[in-house]
């Protein structure tokens, strides 16, 4: 039996704005198991980053979880004290955002920044086994030991992003949230960084929530994929089912419009959704129906038997 690392149960997140409350996430449920990559796909404004922040217990002050529960390793952390959250983040929950490399302190050497994480979490950094752990991690992200003596500006974007992955892995997290963590990199670095992430996942038996808009990338690395639209899922399923037999018209359009180097010259013949169709999608019941084992879709899109 696989262990459920993350269990999101019917949550709703509302932002308080000057114009009144705005619902960013509604009736959203999903879970992620250990050693699994769950691909979370959505366009700008779909609520995917809000969802990530809620999982990390890091919603801005204006954002409120108004319904539902988020269980991490069987524990609900929602109401936990800031101190508990702090202990959980980094140690059990790692976060690698798009600009992760920009969080590196430009004035400190990489080595010192590793030490900061260790001492911040109440462990002594001068023990020789930490040194070995850090070196093993650097090796895992395909970086040489000499990186430790460098300042961030001496490294390329892809190298900095991999340093951040190594840092995120340092305390052996159970769940890694990667939010567009390779979008700013060029394709070759992107491939190296993703492969690194997958290797590290296997070593730690960790779960990864890979948030991104690039479906081609999800096809390469995800085990299951969830498609978000306007704050909820329209479809969740095993990656091969989502690509072979997408059921929701929104998913179908997204997949049909992904450019591929395997296609012929010319643009695919996909008709953009019109207003009426988008409206219909938005008024769908946010609860999903299971149409085949593990494949869920918003109810109006369920094929008639």
């Amino acid at each position: 039996m696989r262990r459920q690392v993350l269990d999101v149960q019917d949550i709703e997140i509302v932002y308080r704005t000057r114009g009144g409350p705005v619902r960013a996430v509604s009736s959203l449920s999903f879970s992620v198991f250990d050693n699994e990559v769950f691909g979370l796909v959505g366009e700008s404004g779909s609520g995917k980053s809000t969802l990530a922040m809620a999982i990390l217990g890091n919603l801005p002050d204006t954002g409120v979880l108004t319904r539902g529960r988020i269980l991490f390793d069987g524990r609900e952390l929602g109401a936990a004290s800031p101190a508990t959250w702090r202990a959980v983040r980094w140690k059990h929950l790692a976060y690698v955002p798009q600009g992760a490399m920009n969080v590196l302190n430009p004035l400190r050497r990489i080595r010192d920044q590793f030490d900061d994480i260790i001492s911040d979490h109440g462990v002594r950094s001068n023990q020789p086994d930490w040194k070995a752990t850090i070196l093993a991690l650097l090796k895992a992200v395909h970086l040489a030991e000499s990186v430790l003596a460098c300042f961030p500006h001496e490294l390329s974007g892809g190298m900095k992003q991999r340093v951040c992955i190594a840092m995120a892995m340092l305390l052996g997290p159970k769940l890694i949230i990667a939010d567009e963590s390779t979008s700013a990199l060029d394709v070759i670095s992107q491939r190296v960084v993703l492969q690194t992430l997958l290797e590290v996942r296997a070593r730690l038996n960790a779960a990864i929530v890979l948030i991104g808009h690039d479906l081609a990338l999800q096809a390469q690395v995800a085990d299951r994929v969830g498609i978000m639209l306007a704050g909820r899922f329209v479809e969740i399923g095993p990656v091969t089912r989502i690509f072979d037999r997408p059921l929701h018209p929104y998913t179908q359009r997204l997949i049909a419009s992904v450019p591929s180097i395997r296609h012929q010259h010319g643009l695919p013949d996909v008709v953009a959704a019109d207003e009426a169709e988008r409206k219909a999608w938005l008024s769908e019941d946010a609860r999903l129906l299971e149409v085949e084992p593990g494949h869920f879709v918003a109810s109006p899109s369920v094929p008639r038997q």
Binding site: S44, K139, I188, V192, I255, V258, H263, H265
Partner: protein, 276 residues
Amino acid sequence: MSGMLLEVRAAGKTFSRHGEQVAAVKSMSFSLPLKQPRLVTLAGESGCGKSTLAMMVLGFLPPSSGQILFHGEDIYLTRGARLRHFRREVQAIFQNPFEVFNPFYRIDHAFDLVVRQLGLPRTDPETSRMVRDALSRVQLDPDSVLGRYPHQLSGGQLQRISIARVVLLRPEILVADEPVSMIDASLRLVVLRQLVDLKERLGISILYITHDLSTALQISDEVFIAHQGSIVERGSARAVIEHPQHEYTRLLVASIPVPDPRERWMDAIGAAEQTP
């Protein structure tokens, strides 16, 4: 006269950094023919020199070596009316549409500039009809964008407004530097289709600059692969992607994610440890 619309002749650009000379573009050459609109892609990774080349072609950055010729004339030696003609005939669209529009002005202002450039009366009903037609052509509802400020519109809407300006100006050349990389997937196709439309219906030659070979394959007639400041391979998009000759092109093509879970990256690349 060279008989070419645009000729990039061994153009190079060297910047000085901490007293050291760094060649962003070593030497690149290619041309666009007259009276035969083409969509050519300059593809490569960040730092390959592709955006530096775009700036040189647009007349914003004089090359350190070589020449950029427009209708056979070196654009950096052109002055006065000829220079104004060049500025009008070579237009650009950039990656981040939010950086292009002045946030203090309504969208209408962006069209006022075009109208002035075209020498049309500003408050004429005919002028306003032309602007609205151009917006409709890029599938925008004129009433939902005119009168708005840039921050009230999405990136996809702003990018299409840039294209609507190109529709009005009808330049001979459009330089499009990563025009879709910041746009959501469902709108990306719409914008790419409009680029093809500019070439096919309005006869505008396009220099498409991107890191994304899969969109290059969809729309371009010819692809140039840039690497470390040089063009290392050129040919039809299909030939370059299916039979890459240069080692770098092979690595680039192999790294492009294929949207098919059955065709996954088999072997790790770049597994060698990287030293700073």
